[in-house]
């Protein structure tokens, strides 16, 4: 075993059998735990929370090119702490991981970066806002105006984001429960970004416009021991309403979500209100992954089919998962992003 593999395994010990996806089910030990009733404070909470074990800045975007071709884009910065402290220099236990992807109907480009905290190679700052790893950044005067870049060996992008609506707090004012046993995380989103910019693909540059959705989440143990992964949906309907919903797969499934109206009013969905049923499965990277879903939210008369634009949107990163743009049809039309984790080989 080389150091790299080892690092991967320790950074995010992936043992789907007993401890959930990417080690998110391991015990939190001395790390801080989310507490119900804690008010989120902005812009401070846009920055990192080193006392918590994991955290991410997770942006997905649905875009179209000049010829109407749909594209998807992902930019994610993960923070993973070996110990609940910050600190400067090599000695800091804060590790960072970046994932970036561009999905076209026929191709899926992925890049991954790893970095130590404390030396300036990667990090996040709340005000003015900046989150970066290597040459990738999500940067702006604040969270409403962002420039976003990333690059890999065969792709790059450089886009600008402008928020057209408010931040949305999930669960109970940002306290999002992840299991019947009470595991929880802090979770808020900015789902109202307009996007414009350029994708650099092997065939050349493509000017794109579209919309983007940013998720911010931090916790120390968001999954229960028996939960092996999740199916997460962020859907934007053509009428302006949005739906975030996820299924945490375990001995019994746990669902949660948020209904977001066009003006940004959010309603938390209790366990069981939202349902997702796999309609067809697709073989990718030696596994079977559902890439067509039936989504139902009877309270809002939502009964839609969610279909992957490119069913091969597999993230072949150190912790592999599926993440890609989808189209929505049925009772509502629209688009969105689908993330599926914990599908073993």
């Amino acid at each position: 075993m080389n150091v790299k593999v080892l690092v991967m395994l320790l950074l995010l010990p992936f043992q789907a059998t007993a401890q959930g996806f990417a080690g998110l089910g391991t015990t939190a030990e001395e790390f801080a735990r989310p507490i119900l009733g804690t008010a989120l404070e902005f812009p401070a909470d846009h920055g990192p929370h080193p006392e918590y074990r994991i955290e991410w800045w997770y942006l997905t975007a649905n875009m179209t090119g000049p010829d109407g071709t749909p594209y998807g884009l992902q930019w994610t910065l993960f923070r993973s702490a070996l110990a609940p402290r910050g600190g400067e220099g090599w000695d800091t236990p804060q590790l960072w991981m970046g994932h970036a992807a561009v999905t076209t109907p026929s191709a899926h480009h992925v890049a991954e970066r790893l970095a130590r905290g404390g030396i300036g190679q990667a990090g996040a700052e709340a005000d003015p806002f900046n989150a970066w790893i290597d040459d990738w950044h999500m940067q702006g005067p604040d969270l409403d105006q962002l420039s976003l870049t990333a690059s890999g060996t065969d792709f790059a992008y450089d886009v600008d984001l402008t928020a057209t609506g408010p931040l949305v707090l999930h669960g109970q004012n940002g306290y999002s429960v992840k299991s019947a046993a009470g595991q929880a995380s802090y979770y808020y989103s900015q789902p109202f970004y307009d996007l414009s910019g350029t994708l650099t693909l092997p065939a050349g540059d493509v000017a794109v416009t579209g919309s983007a959705w940013l998720d911010r989440e931090w916790s120390s143990q968001p999954l229960a021991e028996d939960q092996q992964g999740w199916d997460w949906f962020s859907l934007s309907f053509d009428n302006g309403d949005k739906l975030m919903g996820f299924v945490l797969r375990g001995d019994t499934d746990y669902t949660s979500g948020t209904w977001i109206t066009a003006d940004g009013a959010a309603t938390a969905l209790p366990n069981g209100a939202f349902s997702a049923t796999a309609l067809s499965w697709h073989a990718v990277a030696g596994r079977e992954v559902p890439t067509e879903w039936q989504i139902r939210l009877p309270d809002r008369s939502v009964d839609v089919t969610v279909t992957a634009i490119n069913p091969d949107a597999w993230m072949q990163t150190s912790v592999p998962y599926w993440e890609g743009p989808v189209t929505v049809s049925g009772s509502h039309a629209g688009n969105g992003y689908l993330e599926m984790t914990g599908y073993g080989q």
């Binding site: 080389n2 150091v3 593999v5 070996l82 790893l114 300036g120 040459d135 790059a156 650099t200």
Partner: protein, 795 residues
């Protein structure tokens, strides 16, 4: 039936234990020398491989500071943030142990073959007191460092792997990096290196690593030595097998007459030989292991001192090594026995019962012709051959041809010596000596090869030493060499030294591609230091003055040979700068090309390169004072100053160790050859009785006969030594001027060392005398009844 036949075959060895011992010991010694050398080489190679794998040398491009100094950590961050997929490495030594700090998150996969194993705590590796990974022996050499010690056998010898943060702390070099490993996959938006960090330079992967290539020269020599030793041993084996088969002809005839099919007989004899070869091979491998274990510390010290290559002083038994040892013992036996089997297969049922050992003399003419053909082939390949393979083929043809030429030459010389002999005893002595040459020829060939190998290798090693020391003299002409960390310190050095040093010679260099080859461009200030000390391999007249006027460049021998340049050929340094080659200088141990230009031209071509290294001229007496001043006034650390005298002393001590190894191998090969002579004489002693008995009957005492035998052995050894000298010199020339050039791109000048040759000849005579002593003593004590018996038992 097979068992019966095998038992019959084995009965011969029971009756002739001496021949059995000859065969086994000869083969065992041959295998021992060969496998001992191979063990040393294999150990060294695996150490380099481990080092290369640990440190990314060889397989990845590297970025280093142009001035050879440290890279600031902020510069690394700047490169990462400009899209460069690079990983930092810091290196240093604590108590002589190489400390390597890696950054595991950015390091390429496969780097650092540390088997951290399950349950290792990444947090403990990256943070807190940290962890150091090394072999147990390496850890034992380190003082208490605070970091947790982890035994990791896969780490290169004398090397400690740890996190870069921990390494910076242990080495007291916070915020510093020595080099950046460039990952093969780079983002497409990466900005040019010159925009982000113009003071850094990228070097392409070396493919095998610098150290391995440099040390190849040393290993090639060792291998050549091992091969020659094996050839010597093979002659012994060939002799023993040949004799055994010759003497068993009557038995073979009897067995065939009794109905044993020829095919089965040959197969069973092959089985018999294979068993003997396996036994001898196993003994030989055990002996080889002992030889390697004894020599390895010296070899390791040599390589560390000469090339900076770390080598474990401990020997590990590698399957590839002992398997190859057994294979070569079996193969060698097969080669030695093939002729015997061939003649056996063609032997008609009822003929050939007579031993033919002494009839071999009749084949002298054919042997001389073959020797001539091989020597001619060798000469042809020396003149027109190209490539390393041709170089080795030439070596082989030279040695075998030389060995085959020995018996006819000896016969010729002895015949000439016999002509002026007048007394009956003298005439008999020469005639009898000539008569014995065929029986002793294999042993004498072994002595010839051993002697030639020793002359060749000691010539080469000594030439290397003379050249290298001379090269150090010209390269290290300044009394003190200092390197600054940055431009500010460089300025301080110049200020401090200008009062005290006689001259300050800045050393400027950049890595560029010249004439399509990777090369270093150096600047030389016009100073007597260079004019006085540097010697050219070839040069135009007035080369220094023309260089000083910017009318040309100097190139090293590697550049000269690889780019096939000649004096006066123009080389391009920049689009509009083409200059002729004024001279070629030797640059031993360097693996790439080098070009020297004037300081003025260098500064105009590369204005952004500042000099951080300086050669300081002063009188040797004042060097310590200058050193002290630089330490106190310019803040230079001791490590940043190199004393010319210290370097030279170190180099010489390294060569002393090389000589230890060479001398040990010399003695061993001569011992093998001496053993061959002893065995041949003992075998001949029995056969010769019918020839000695009449001489004894005519009045020569046994004591006199024994003295004459001793004298004969010395005469033959002396003649062989005389013939070995030119062969050894030819061998040295082939190694230095052909194989070395093909393998490494530079030619070592050859020097002659008559005193060494006299010493070697004395050693060879001593070996022959020792070998002849026991047979002579036995002869002097032989019961007269046995001599008398010759007459009564006469066939």
């Amino acid at each position: 039936m097979s068992w019966t036949v095998l038992a019959a075959l084995a009965s011969y060895w029971r009756r002739n234990p001496l021949q059995l011992v000859t065969l086994l010991v000869g083969l065992a010694l041959a295998t021992a020398l060969w496998s001992g050398v191979q063990a040393i080489n294999a150990e060294a190679r695996s150490s380099y491989d481990a080092a290369a794998a640990t440190l990314g040398e060889g397989s990845y491009a590297q970025i280093t500071a142009r001035d050879g100094g440290a890279i600031a950590q902020q510069e690394y961050i700047a490169m990462r943030r400009a899209g460069w997929a690079v990983s930092p490495v810091i290196e240093g030594r604590i108590d002589g142990v190489r400390i390597v700090g890696l950054e595991p998150l950015t390091a390429p996969g496969g780097l650092g073959p540390v088997n951290l194993g399950a349950g290792t705590d990444l947090g403990a590796f990256l943070t807190g007191p940290g962890q150091i990974f090394a072999r147990a022996a390496t850890l034992d050499r380190l003082p208490v460092l605070g970091a947790q010690r982890v035994i990791a056998p896969d780490v290169a010898p004398n090397t400690v792997l740890t996190d870069i943060g921990i390494a910076q702390r242990l080495l007291g070099r916070a915020g510093q990096i020595d080099r950046l490993i460039v990952l093969p996959d780079q983002p497409i938006t990466r900005r040019p290196l010159s925009d982000i960090a113009p003071d850094l330079a990228q070097a392409t992967p070396q493919g095998g690593g610098d150290v391995a290539r440099l040390t190849d020269s040393f290993h090639l020599n060792l291998t050549a030595f091992g091969l020659l030793s094996f050839a010597v041993g093979l002659f012994i084996v060939h002799g023993a097998i040949g004799l055994a088969f010759e003497q068993r002809r009557p038995m073979i005839r009897s067995m065939r007459a009794l109905g044993v099919p020829l095919g089965r007989l040959i197969a069973l004899m092959a089985v018999e030989l294979a068993i003997l070869a396996l036994i001898a091979g196993a003994i030989g491998i055990a002996l080889g292991y002992v030889i390697a274990a004894v020599l390895l510390p010296d070899v390791a010290a040599t390589l560390r001192g000469l090339y900076g290559a770390d080598l474990s002083g401990q020997l590990t038994l590698r399957p590839a090594w002992w398997l190859s040892g057994l294979a070569i013992a079996l193969g060698g036996t097969a080669v030695a026995a093939s002729g015997v089997f061939w003649s056996l297969a063609r032997m008609s049922l009822l003929s050939g019962a007579q031993p033919r050992a002494l009839a071999m003399a009749q084949r002298g003419g054919a042997q001389a012709a073959l020797a001539m053909a091989l020597l001619t082939l060798s000469a042809v390949m020396a003149i027109w051959g190209e490539g390393l393979l041709a170089g080795f083929a030439m070596l082989g043809a030279l040695l075998i041809g030389g060995a085959l030429a020995l018996p006819p030459l000896l016969a010729l010389v002895l015949k000439l010596a016999e002509a002026p002999a007048r007394t009956p005893v003298a005439q008999w002595f020469w005639a009898d000596t000539r008569q014995q040459v065929p029986g002793l020829s294999l042993a004498l060939m072994a002595l010839l090869l051993a002697m030639a190998a020793n002359v060749g290798v000691s010539t080469m090693v000594s030439s290397f030493r003379l050249t290298f020391v001379g090269f150090l003299d010209q390269r290290l002409a300044s009394e003190l060499y200092v390197s600054a960390e940055d431009a500010a310190q460089a300025a301080t050095i110049v200020a401090v030294a200008s009062d005290r040093a006689d001259a300050i010679l800045p050393i400027l260099s950049v890595d560029r591609t010249v004439a399509g080859l990777p090369a270093e461009i150096y600047s030389a200030r016009d100073h007597a230091t260079y004019r006085d000390n540097w010697q050219f391999l070839r040069a135009m007249p007035d080369a220094w003055n023309r260089l000083a006027r910017g009318k040309g460049v100097l190139i090293n021998e590697q550049m000269f040979r690889r780019a096939k340049l000649d004096l006066g050929d123009a080389i391009a340094l920049a689009p509009d700068v083409r200059l002729p080659v004024l001279g070629v200088y030797g640059d031993y141990g360097n693996s790439i090309g080098q070009v020297i230009v004037t300081e003025a031209l260098f500064r105009s071509l590369y204005p952004d390169v500042t000099a951080l290294r300086f050669g300081l001229r002063t009188t040797p007496d004042e060097a310590p004072a200058l050193r002290a001043a630089l330490r106190t006034e310019a803040g230079l650390s001791e490590a940043a100053m190199i004393d010319q005298a210290a370097i030279k002393a170190l180099s010489l001590s390294v060569f002393e160790r090389t000589f230890t190894v060479t001398t040990a191998l010399n003695v061993l090969t001569l011992a093998v050859a001496g053993f061959a002579i002893l065995m041949s004489l003992l075998t001949l002693a029995a056969i010769r009785l019918p020839q000695l008995a009449p001489v004894w009957a005519l009045g020569l005492t046994r004591r006199r006969l024994a003295l004459l035998d001793l004298l004969r052995a010395l005469v033959l050894a002396a003649l062989t030594a005389v013939l070995a000298l030119p062969l050894g010199l030819a061998l040295a020339w082939a190694l230095l001027a052909v194989v070395n050039v093909e393998a490494f791109g530079w030619r070592l000048p050859m020097y002659l060392f008559p005193l060494d040759y006299i010493r070697l000849t004395a050693l060879a005579l001593l070996a022959a005398a020792l070998a002849a002593l026991w047979p002579a003593w036995r002869l002097s004590r032989i019961p007269p009844a046995r001599l008398l018996g010759v007459f009564s038992n006469e066939r």
